[in-house]
């Protein structure tokens, strides 16, 4: 009876990801290899030979990499600067947890009104008599990366705070009493302890930015395509075969990045 209940619970919990996550994605993968009822790799050849699709893959990787590379040092320095001051830390935590529950699409609309063509910043600049080339900047690749950085910075900061909270204060005190301060202390004592959390944060930020669609919906202006936006566009255009293929490519990139990171993480873990 005891065992019976456990397996009932297990079946109940396990069947849901299989029904709603694994088998749909499996079906999408299978479908991407079929066109008109025959097994074929036609879709993939089309993907690899078309400049448009390759361009969106390239855009996705470019935007995501730059965003992650910029977010990591900014987030790290904000956490390092504020972690010892309880009051400030509380405010920073509150501020950064706001975007976690707000729509990134709404956020981008607000950005248009601040930094866009007729936005606040441009008006201030024009009062000062400056002609800043900011007008079209927001809709370019740079602007999209900027919006991504703003929106996903909190996603990096919040978990990083908790890995800093796990740093052993005794080790820090010992280091200080032995005359290690400032950057030296950070590099030799604290950094090794937070490295795992830091790398996990980088991976999660990368995956979140890579897989989101809202920023590009708001700022892409129908010109800049990323992989997710291309999938949406193909689906809207009834190109289901291509949509399936793009989905598989996107999953493949996600998996590849995760596996590479797992290897790096294991190395950094075993060093510790």
């Amino acid at each position: 009876m005891e065992q019976y209940g456990k397996y009932l619970l297990l079946a109940l919990v396990g069947v849901i990801p299989i029904l709603l996550f694994i088998s749909p994605l499996f079906l999408v993968t299978i479908n991407s290899f079929f066109a008109g009822g025959n097994f074929t790799v036609e879709n993939y050849i089309k993907f690899l030979s078309s400049k448009m699709y390759l361009r969106s893959l390239q855009n996705s990787i470019l935007i995501t990499s730059i965003t992650t590379i910029v977010i990591a040092p900014i987030g790290l320095s904000i956490v390092v600067a504020t972690r010892k001051h309880e009051k400030v830390k509380r405010i920073v935590k509150l501020l950064t947890s706001l975007p976690l529950v707000f729509s990134s699409y709404v956020f981008c609309i607000a950005l248009i009104y601040i930094y866009g063509r007729t936005g606040i910043v441009n008006h201030i600049l024009s009062i000062a008599g400056l002609e800043f080339p900011i007008s079209n900047l927001l809709y370019s690749l740079t602007g999209i990366i900027f919006a991504n950085i703003l929106f996903f910075l909190p996603y990096f900061i919040v978990p990083l705070f908790s890995s800093f909270e796990e740093v052993n204060p005794n080790l820090e005190e010992v280091a200080e009493s032995l005359g290690s301060h400032g950057f030296h202390k950070f590099r030799r004592v604290i950094f090794p302890q937070i490295l795992y959390g830091l790398l996990t944060g980088v991976l999660i930020t990368f995956l979140l930015v890579f897989n989101q669609i809202s920023v590009i919906l708001a700022l892409g202006a129908g010109r800049t395509y990323t992989l997710t936006y291309q999938l949406f566009a193909q689906y809207e255009g009834f190109q289901y075969g291509m949509a399936n293929t793009i989905a598989v490519v996107s999953i493949a990139v996600t998996l590849l990045v995760t596996i590479i990171f797992q290897i790096v993480l294991k190395k950094s873990w075993s060093k510790k």
Binding site: P24, V28, I91, Y105, V106, A110, I114, I127, T254
Partner: protein, 253 residues
């Protein structure tokens, strides 16, 4: 002194970057035309426009999807966390990564999968709800599990040895002790449900647009005032739930 300046700069930086866009969203909803640094006139014309049945239906849709999906998500998260916190079984790691991984797959990909697998419920409320469930259940599961795993095992054993049944122990010991995690999971679920766009973008059918979808559509037509009003409503709903749950969580039974 130098430290204080650095702290002020950090706060200013975050404040400008994060708070400013939120204020602008609210201003958008009460400014008829915005063509200088500060808005020159205010009116509630957009707020009155929102009372049209088209928009009230969108708001009701969002509330309905959020309520149903939150209920199911939190229920599932509690059951799954109970299993993970108090039972050992083979393949535990695999199952937990299975439950958690939808967070790291693009929303449109998940939606495409659901549409391929369940074409019969296309354009209905149910597929929209399933989509929301798939994206949000990992977040809530992580939240509930982290609080349930902290319950000391000897409390559970004490309850059993005093003759309490499994169901009774679950009801009287496990649930009250993991209340904090369940409540914050509920807040997260409501917040993400309301602002969810990437999955619903493919799944919403005729008559089932939610607030974020409507904002997307309105913006496509070049009307930003309505988008401002809807965004403000979205933010207000989220903030209200955060405070309500915070209040409920703070009250001692």
């Amino acid at each position: 002194m130098r430290e204080k300046i650095i702290l002020m700069l950090v706060l200013l930086f975050l404040g400008v970057l994060i708070i400013l866009p939120l204020c602008v969203v609210f201003l958008l909803s009460i400014v008829p035309r915005w063509s200088s640094v500060f808005p020159t006139s205010f009116s509630f014309e957009w707020w009155l426009a929102i009372l049209k049945p088209k928009f009230t239906k969108v708001i009701l849709n969002t509330l309905l999807v959020t309520a149903v999906s939150t209920l199911i998500t939190v229920g599932y998260a509690i059951i799954a966390s109970y299993l993970f916190a108090f039972y050992d079984f083979r393949g535990k790691e695999i199952l937990s990564s299975l439950i958690l991984s939808p967070t790291y797959v693009a929303g449109v990909v998940l939606a495409l999968g659901l549409l391929t697998m369940y074409p019969l419920i296309r354009n209905t409320f149910w597929i929209l709800m399933l989509g929301h469930f798939v994206v949000i259940s990992p977040i809530v599961f992580r939240c509930v599990l982290s609080s349930m795993i902290k319950i000391p095992n000897n409390l559970i054993e004490a309850s059993y040895s005093l003759g309490s049944s499994k169901a009774n122990t679950f009801w009287r010991i496990v649930l009250p002790l993991s209340k904090q995690g369940i409540l914050s999971g509920t807040v997260l679920s409501i917040g993400t449900n309301i602002s969810e766009l990437s999955v619903s973008l493919l799944l919403y059918g005729a008559g089932w647009a939610t607030i974020p979808i409507q904002i997307y559509l309105e913006r496509g037509w070049g009307i930003l005032g309505i988008a401002g009003v809807l965004s403000t409503i979205l933010i207000l709903i989220t903030l209200t739930t955060v405070f309500c749950v915070d209040y409920l969580g703070g009250k001692k039974p």
